[in-house]
Amino acid sequence: MHPARSLILFTVLSGQGFGLLVFLGLGTPEVEGWRAFAAYALAFALAGGGLMSSAFHLGHPERALKAFREWRTSWLSREAWLSVAALSVNGLYGLCLMLGLRIAPLGWLGALLAIATVVATSMIYASLRTVPRWHRPEVPVLFVALALSGGALIAGQRWLGLSLLLIGAGLQLFAWMRGDRALAESGTSIHSATGLGMMGTVRSLEAPHTGENYLTREMVHVVGRKHAAKLRAIGAALAFAGPAFFLLWPGGATVFLAAPFHLLGTCVLRWLFFAQAEHVVGLYYGRR
């Protein structure tokens, strides 16, 4: 799949913003007054900025409000509703905190909605059968883990952040191992795509056109896969190993470096999430 910048920023930034809202909602750390204002401003900048950048992916951003209509069937629509609900509840809770009022259940509800929003974001991808690497239960779990670890690091939670980084790294490794086999195990091949498998070995002889088209550019992205192994190492180093190192450094002087490194690493991992995903339509073009 084509790794669109707007979608990488959307999923990473909104994930980290909602992750931060989870910890603020749970009261780890407990913030009040001006500290609450700063923390919530950062969380809203991340979550809101991410959501705004998703609009740049649209052909008609001016019609974006219509995306609230079909929540019954569409995860994209559910994501829109949940993000608005999460931002509203957390905004209200944050406002109360700034005024020195702590309504704990409101914070818990905000945390729950923030997690639900990240789940909905990931389900936009995980619900697509056409991309076997995405159509897996570990995808939403990994999205939530990365959002929570990012949130914990920004919230300055040293040991909680460290354990979440460990869980995230394990899940990412698992997702890569399973994902690499996903297309082969899905049972979809050029033989089932063309229905001609019973006649012999099928090979694409000629594409329908000499150039590219919307489908090949959007869904048959092969450029970045060349360096996938190296990028995995770089992404894992930035997102997990680096931040863990900064958290463990004696004295805690480098703790503040963990969050920006994790954010950068998550961007690399998310780039790979798109670039490495194979859409089955590529089979019709004899490509992956």
């Binding site: 951003p61 069937t73 088209n213």
Partner: protein, 246 residues
């Protein structure tokens, strides 16, 4: 509404005969021509006369080579357009309701005024049936020529999709696949029409007729033909032997 209808009154669709298609791309041109001119928003191209011409098409023809150990390779031309699936994943993912499946005839359509151009429906389609219009930035797809098949302004013979009407080999057929007595349903029954990517559970309406086996029929005259001489005779026999001795 992006919820799919439980049942459609009719199930209009295409039956495509892979045995007959000659890969002339006439249906591609007819489709592009009709859909570019019949709708106000057109079906545009980007850089059509430049270095990298590209554009939105609702119907494309692939060509595949099939090789076997025990027979010569075969080439199959493979037209592909929207299959108007009964469980259309492109419809249910649409956040705005722009994509919908009609209860009366099962045609999957896009209401372009509601399309936000997010592209999620194109991602959800395993067949590559939807393409973004490079100019209007809304999703385009096969309408089964809904503006032809019910158009009483047209002569009756023309009230079928442009691709079907234009096919010089009669490789494309249009009809109601829910009616077992229809010509298309009979074709599907007689030729064991198949679904593409059945494992995706999309339940496509369009059916593909597989190529028929061919070699057996070619051999009808074989016994009457003089066998090719394996051993040379006369002058050739002498020449063969002489050359062997050198």
């Amino acid at each position: 509404m992006t919820a799919l209808p439980d049942k459609t009154d009719r199930t209009l669709g295409l039956v495509i005969d892979l045995d007959i298609c000659v890969g002339c791309h006439a249906c591609v041109v007819a489709c592009k021509g009709w859909n570019d001119t019949s709708q106000t928003s057109g079906l545009s191209d980007s850089d059509p006369y430049g270095e990298a011409p590209e554009g939105a098409f609702l119907n494309r023809i692939h060509s595949y080579e099939i090789t076997r150990e025990d027979a010569p390779a075969t080439v199959v031309h493979f037209p592909k357009s929207c299959l108007h699936c009964e469980d259309a994943p492109c419809v249910t993912v649409c956040p705005t309701g722009a994509s919908f499946k009609r209860r009366e005839d099962g045609i999957v359509l896009v209401n372009e005024d509601d399309c936000i151009g997010c592209g999620l429906c194109a991602w959800a389609c395993p067949y590559g049936a939807r393409e973004m219009d490079p100019t209007t930035q809304v999703m385009k797809k096969c309408t089964l020529c809904v503006d032809r098949i019910y158009n009483e302004e047209l002569p009756e013979i023309d009230r079928e999709p442009a691709c079907v009407r234009t096919c010089p080999a009669n490789a494309r057929h249009f009809g109601d696949l829910s009616d077992p007595g229809s010509a298309v349903s009979k074709l599907v029954a007689a030729r064991e029409g198949m679904d593409l990517m059945p494992e995706m559970d999309t339940r496509p309406v369009n059916k593909y007729l597989p190529p028929r086996p061919r070699d057996a029929e070619i051999d009808v005259l074989a016994p009457l033909l003089e066998p090719v001489a394996e051993e040379p005779r006369g002058f050739l026999k002498w020449l063969d032997a002489a050359l062997d001795r050198i």
